[in-house]
Amino acid sequence: MVKVALWGTLRQHADGQAEVEVQAANFKQLLDELATRYPGLKPQIKRGVSVAIDGKVYREAWFTPISPDSQVVLMPYMVGG
């Protein structure tokens, strides 16, 4: 299981939890599992999210591995100038 930190406005769709535990070995599995267990997250996932794994931010990269002890933070899709 991987602990995933959610930003504030997502928590209302995850039973108010700031952190949820999901079974996922990579970014794609993480998104799929989140969308399945918490359907309220689907609109944001569809709009786009990034994920920070152990301090590194990934914008897409579905197959980025996640280990059970990774520090995982869901973030909005990053944009820049």
Binding site: A5, W7, G8, T9, L10, Q12, A18, G40, P43, Q44, R47, G48, S50, A52, D54, G55, K56, V57, Y58, R59, E60, A61, T64, Q71, V73, M75, P76, Y77, M78, V79, G80, G81
Partner: protein, 745 residues
């Protein structure tokens, strides 16, 4: 990939001449407007004079009858996009259909045999509007009863009962705010406002589009991302991406403003209809009215601090408007606001609000300058109220490796503390404030990212190296990429040439944005060079008749790896390349990947200013920028980014703003009335590059392009406020606004 020992570089870190320099100073460089084609037509876009209206009818008959007119397009010529709301917004922004949502919104376009005929024809198009109520102010747009810009845009995260203009809400942070504020000796809450500002690139949007009868197209355009432009244009026109080849011209500035299409789909649609190439070049007036500025904002910031300068809690509410379209910029601001600080209790709230303004597009660190302006101003005011040194307070609270950031990520190695300490030790900070002047300081932050990247590196038979990459060169990246290729291969910089490939010849590359190119394309180039080196070592081994594993690469040549490998003289890259036809054919390296591990970026700025008490005009006397570059590949360009970003931030702070009439019409769409800083306004911007290696890059490189625009807003606010003895809470601090504060009315 962490760097245990500082690496010694031969080429990286030097300052060779830029490869595009001669062409640019002699006028030979080909910019967007320089491209022409036989039989080319000229285009003109007709734009809405109203801030908000329903389009009742468009009569093009008089324009069509004008001799020389070859094609006219309106919103009806673009197939509706289903499913992708973001791309549908891009399409609707390029050409209105049922409504116009801001003054300057495109409603029709003409292609004709001359620019004069196109301009005249555009004036002959009759559009019947039903004018609707409008709103351009972000706070007014959030108020109950505000004119509704667009119905049905509210997302699932917005609480019920708010104005229909509020489309999106986000929240970030951690810890117990109430407990944090309870520990504070002083708490202040302040409201800030910032104006929309434009990127102000010198070169207006310009393109040449050519669609042929078989449905294929070519597009030459000034862009920060021709691969995304291909994607967007194909989606908007309803064609396959492979049917369109896009070539990036040289670019006369972008700063984020050329990461989105405006003119290109329109030019392609006109070309498709006319069966001729079409050139579309915006005027400066159109650039202001029709392309994206920054968000306009209203921000509330509350911070608690102990008597000895420890921040106990921070809270900020960011109300951002990116015009009549959804934007996620409030997310970026809300995540960035307190990123410079190690806080136990922090919360930020982002709100996106629709107004009748042009569609916002990125401008260097989008969303961060405004949010950090509010935080850094509030901290500075607390320092004054508690009689604390503002630099010491920032050092005391600075985020560092291991800090849980305000947006949840735990930081790796980064250089904020090093920049703060460098600032504290610098002669600027330690010199007396000049008579009649005042001094300000502030921090800044940007995330940086990597992204989709593709590079091909070819070794010529004469021993020269050609690098093909897919990111338009805005800030000297071709030189930096060449330097990294030279470093990895061990050949002189002059032997490497880097070119920007078109969309038909290289895999997808993300935009030149997010401070990603030197990091991501550089990393891809290093990997491609390593692949080519591996091949060259294999060939040298075959020539020598030894195992490939017994060969290593030293200073631009294959050499036996130790005495047991045999005794052979070094075989240089040029020697191996000369024999490539006999040893297996062309030698090349390639890398396509998603670059991650970009590494966050921080900076610290110090400014000395003098305010004219009679006019309210601010003169910047001295300005110093401290920033962590990880490793400065070409220090000239790192310094250029630091200086350029600082000057643009100074422009945001002192003068730049979109000014609207009560009818929602922009009153200052030109550089005479929209005042950007020019060289004569500025002192020499001093730069101090810190090099705290990014563990995510083999040379330690971090992006540097965006962070330097962040601190100037608060740096100047803090300097001016201390100078005039009154706090300022609104940007720009133009002379009338400063004078009003001085005079007290």
């Amino acid at each position: 990939m962490a760097l245990d020992q500082p690496r010694k570089f031969k080429y990286v870190g030097t300052r060779p001449a830029r490869p595009d320099g001669i062409d640019k100073v002699t006028g030979r460089a080909q910019y967007g407007n320089d491209i022409t084609a036989p039989g080319m037509l000229w285009a003109k876009v007709l734009r809405s004079p109203h801030a908000h209206a329903r389009i009742l009818s468009i009569d093009t008959s008089a324009a069509e009858a004008l001799p020389g007119v070859r094609a006219i397009v309106t919103g009806a010529d673009f197939p509706p996009i289903e499913g992708d709301a973001g791309m549908r917004d891009v399409q609707l922004n390029c050409m209105a259909t049922t409504h116009v949502w801001y003054e300057g919104h495109a409603v029709a376009a003409v292609a004709a045999t001359s620019q004069a005929i196109a301009n005249k024809a555009a004036r002959l198009i009759k559009v019947e509007y039903e004018i609707l109520p409008h709103v351009t102010d972000v706070d007014a747009a959030m108020a109950p009863g505000a004119p509704v810009v667009r119905e049905g845009q509210t997302m699932e995260n917005v609480p019920a009962g708010m104005s229909a203009n509020v489309t999106y809400h986000s929240e970030f942070g951690h810890g117990d705010l109430a407990a944090g504020f309870a520990r504070a000796d002083k708490i202040i809450e302040r409201n800030f406002r910032t104006a929309a500002t434009h990127q102000g690139y010198i070169e207006p949007q310009a393109c040449l589009a050519s669609m042929t009868a078989d449905g294929r197209g070519e597009l030459w355009t000034c862009t920060q991302g021709h691969f995304y432009f291909r994607t967007a244009c194909a989606a908007i026109l309803g064609i396959e991406a492979s049917a369109l080849r896009v070539t990036a011209s040289e670019i006369g500035g972008g700063f984020g403003g050329k990461t989105q299409v405006w003119a290109e789909p329109v030019a392609l649609a006109l070309s498709k209809k006319a069966g001729k190439p079409v050139k579309l070049t915006m005027t400066r007036d159109e650039v202001f009215r029709g392309t994206g500025p920054t968000v306009t904002t209203s921000i509330t910031c509350k911070i608690g601090m102990t008597k000895d300068g420890r921040i106990t809690a921070g809270e900020a509410t960011l109300r951002y408007s990116g015009g009549a379209f959804h934007t996620g910029t409030c997310d970026m601001g809300a995540m960035a606001a307190f990123a410079s600080y190690d806080l136990d209790a922090v919360r930020t709230y982002g709100w996106n609000v629709l107004t009748n303004r042009p569609k916002e597009i990125s401008y260097r660190a989008p969303g961060a300058p405004q949010a950090i302006y509010a935080v850094e101003s509030t901290i500075d005011e607390l320092c004054q109220l508690l009689n604390l040194d503002p630099l010491d307070v920032r050092i005391k609270n600075a985020a560092k490796a291991g800090t849980k950031s305000s947006y949840g990520v735990v930081f790796e190695e980064m250089g904020l503390l090093a920049a703060l300490k460098a600032a504290k030790a610098h002669p600027h900070w330690n010199s007396p404030v000049p008579e009649g002047a005042s001094r300000g300081v502030a921090c800044g932050f940007w995330f940086n990212f990597g992204g989709n990247t593709c590079v091909s590196l070819n070794i010529g038979t004469d021993g020269t190296v050609a690098v093909s990459e897919g990111n338009p060169d805005i800030g000297g990246s071709r030189a930096s990429i060449s330097l990294m290729a030279a470093e990895e291969l061990g050949v002189p910089y002059e032997k490497v040439r880097t070119v920007i490939a078109d969309t038909g010849t290289l895999g997808y590359n993300d935009n030149t944005d997010g401070s990603r190119v030197t990091f991501a394309v550089g990393l891809a180039t290093i990997r491609a060079a390593q692949e080519a080196k591996k091949d060259m070592m294999r060939r040298a081994a075959a020539i020598w008749g030894i195992d490939a594993e017994a060969v290593e690469w030293v200073d631009g040549a294959a050499v036996p790896a130790g005495p047991n490998a045999g005794k052979f003289p070094p075989m240089t890259l040029a020697e191996i390349a000369a024999q490539s036809f006999q040893t297996g054919g062309p030698i090349a390296g390639h890398c396509d990947f998603q670059a991650d591990g970009a590494g966050v970026s921080f900076g610290v700025h110090i400014a000395d200013v003098a305010v004219d008490q009679e006019t309210g005009k601010t003169k910047v006397l001295r300005y110093t920028v401290f920033q962590d570059a990880g490793k400065a590949v070409h220090p000239d360009y790192v310094e250029g980014q630091m200086q350029g970003g600082a000057v643009q931030g100074i422009g945001m702070a002192l003068n730049e703003e979109y000014i609207y009439s009560d009818k929602g019409v922009i009153l200052n769409p030109g550089f005479l009335d929209y005042r950007i800083p020019v060289a004569s306004d500025m002192p020499m911007i001093e730069t101090v590059i810190l090099e705290i290696p990014n563990p995510g890059h083999p040379y330690g490189v971090r992006g540097v392009g965006e962070t330097p625009i962040v601190p100037p807003l608060a740096t100047l606010t803090n300097a001016i406020s201390r100078g005039i003895g009154k706090r300022l809470y609104e940007l720009p601090m133009s002379p009338p606004r400063v004078l009003k504060a001085i005079k007290g009315h």
